[in-house]
Amino acid sequence: MIRLTYETFDPGVLLSEFSRGRSEVGAVATFTGLARAEAGSTTILELEAYPGFTEAEIGKIADKARRRFGLDDLMILHRAGQIPAGEPVVFVATAARHRRAAFEACDFLMDYLKSQAPFWKKEHGRDGARWIEPHERDHADLARWDAERPDPKYPDKEIST
């Protein structure tokens, strides 16, 4: 499931829902990203999305992860709008037969979301507001996955949605 939301959410509830009724999966890994206060200098993180396009592009990232890691399922919930420091921005969950694929797929998804998901990020704080663009570090993180080559550890698998 891929969803864009303008409301806050509870990662614990999402994890419970995602894990329910899975007797064959074996491993569920999650990542939750929170809006960081940057030592008090950021009070609100604002994320602008392009509705329709944003979900479609996240869908392409999700398909890459499904193929590469042979996932049984995944979930991405991404927030947009005004997000107070400390609240969740993104929740990613992956389900696989074994833990390594689930862990690595979470990591992979976050690296792609950080530098390729269509969001524009503005930090509001005591010194005003500023737009944040991807850092060099984000591009370096992405390069680790050697983009188009599937990892031989995880043979290709039929895509399931």
């Binding site: 990203g33 994320l47 602008e48 392009y50 329709g52 396009f53 479609a56 996240i58 991404h78 921005v89 993104v90 976050m110 979301l113 950080k114 530098s115 390729q116 998901a117 269509p118 969001f119 524009w120 990020k121 503005k122 737009w131 944040i132 663009e133 991807p134 984000d138």
Partner: protein
């Protein structure tokens, strides 16, 4: 008429987010926007700014028809 959308810092720079513009092509649209606002024109051609036509990324020149939505997208960052 094309529906032109600006995202991120581009809309702050221009002072608008959405506008109807009548242009036959992407290059004509860029020239038109640059004539109205040279700073915006320069930013639209800046490093890392991509263009989506009806929500599909395009590179280079493209024709615009009546139903076209043209979005200018600065470098993206989620998560």
């Amino acid at each position: 008429m094309a529906r032109v959308l600006l995202f991120g810092r581009l809309s702050d720079l221009a002072g608008w987010r959405e506008r109807q513009v009548d242009s036959p092509s992407l290059s004509a649209l860029r020239a038109r926007l640059a004539a109205d606002d040279p700073a915006l024109g320069e930013a639209l051609g800046g490093r890392g700014v991509q263009v989506a036509l009806d929500q599909v990324i395009v590179r280079g020149e493209a024709f615009l028809n009546a139903a076209t939505e043209v979005a200018f997208l600065p470098p993206m960052s989620g998560g």
